[in-house]
Symmetry: C2
Subunit: 264 residues, 2 copies
Amino acid sequence: MTLKLIRHFDSDQEKTPMSIQELKLGFKDCSDCPIRHRAVCARCEADELAVLDEIKYYRSYEAGQTVVWSGDHMDFVASVVSGIATLSQTMEDGRTQMVGLLLPSDFVGRPGRDEAAFDVTATTNLVMCCFRRKPFEKMMAETPHIAQRLLEMTLDELDAAREWMLLLGRKTAREKIASLIAIIARRDATLTKGGGTPKTFDLPLTRDAMSNYLGLTLETVSRQISALKKDGVIQLEGKRHVTIPDFQRLLDETGDDADGGYLV
Amino acid sequence: MTLKLIRHFDSDQEKTPMSIQELKLGFKDCSDCPIRHRAVCARCEADELAVLDEIKYYRSYEAGQTVVWSGDHMDFVASVVSGIATLSQTMEDGRTQMVGLLLPSDFVGRPGRDEAAFDVTATTNLVMCCFRRKPFEKMMAETPHIAQRLLEMTLDELDAAREWMLLLGRKTAREKIASLIAIIARRDATLTKGGGTPKTFDLPLTRDAMSNYLGLTLETVSRQISALKKDGVIQLEGKRHVTIPDFQRLLDETGDDADGGYLV
DNA sequence: CGACGTGTTGATTCCTGTCAATACTCGTGG
DNA sequence: CCACGAGTATTGACAGGAATCAACACGTCG
């Protein structure tokens, strides 16, 4: 377990801002920020960052905590700095569907709306860089660099959502699992610069979270992972650590086009 | 059948721009345009419209025609002026999933990308207001009104895509059909100002298109429509004309929250 | 040790897909 | 005028894949 320097907030308690020092983020200011060149602030100049700095504060959550509930009042928007969060929807009878997977640099919240449309949950320990909503909106209207970057990010998310819709609507359970593993493997490769073979990484999601991502039950997820393992498409050490001996073999199982559209 | 004044283009033929007059659009310029206040140009001032006017041209397609194929080069972006188009993805073995339903005022194409990511098909006769991509991108960088509106529209689309993901991943066939009919009924009510009971309208999609929207087969769509009819949730005249005697009853079948989040 | 969270596996059900036959509408052409 | 075909839709029989219900394994933590 990591040190308990990351504080725990109950969602109905008043949350207090922290300074960078308190959080032990590992960086001092925006120029050292790990998401500096990918987040909503990516295009900002030094003077623009200074303005952002005025309205920002850090907040952290422990794995499993809810960041906001659908329908809650949200007085901030935020960027994920580290960790993973999920966006999800729940029906009255408890069926839930994940509708977004938020990774470092991803944006949470919607300018112009003060009510959360989805549940946001931290699936790992999570640090977010929050901006007070009103000043952020004002700044968006004044500094095109932010609005431009946000548009670009939103268009990317929309594309991803549409790929995801194909998966949910038309893929078999086996194809869904293969697709998810391929997505995670690709992302891991870009983060760690590990483009080699075999690819090795940890699944950052529980079976239950995977089932919510894929529109399956957790039993089906477990069965299909076992099947892919039995067929030699993946190898498992423990429950989470995956090795992919032949990435093309995995891609063949996803049902996607041979050339994929992605660079591998 | 409408007059054949709307010209037909084969997708591999050179497409020629048309003037407003040729197309018999029923309006003379942007200020009379039916989508003036909802499309990407909604926030533009008169002088900005004048610039847009320089780079725009109209194009029309007959029902069933493909507007662009996924992977095609696209030298324009566009707004739907009238008619309905769909965005869809197809897997190698022919399985297809609709990922967007484009109604009047909706935007097609992505600034900064010259290759279509999805198939765009006209499901009814369709008129689009096209902008040459390069000058449009230049203009976006210079006139915040366009970028602002596009961001707003893209965020709306992302929200809609996420609702759709819940439908695809977790709803039963019956709930999917009820949801689709409710969506169409709501939209029809906003267009025709017909908020009354019973609601009556035509389904603008074939059974096959509905199945692609919902991630079902057309047989299942047909069966569930028959079932809803048998149970008195909807009434049918012919194949397409629907009457909803009790809208709340229909909403109860969608699986959504009782209060819906939508104003009815 | 026992409780709990997480994950695997088995038996069974049932919803939806698949394959197939038929009906209806609309245009076309003999 | 009617036969014919194409496109659209309905319905039935059947199979199969995923959900459901249930038992059990494993590791961690108190």
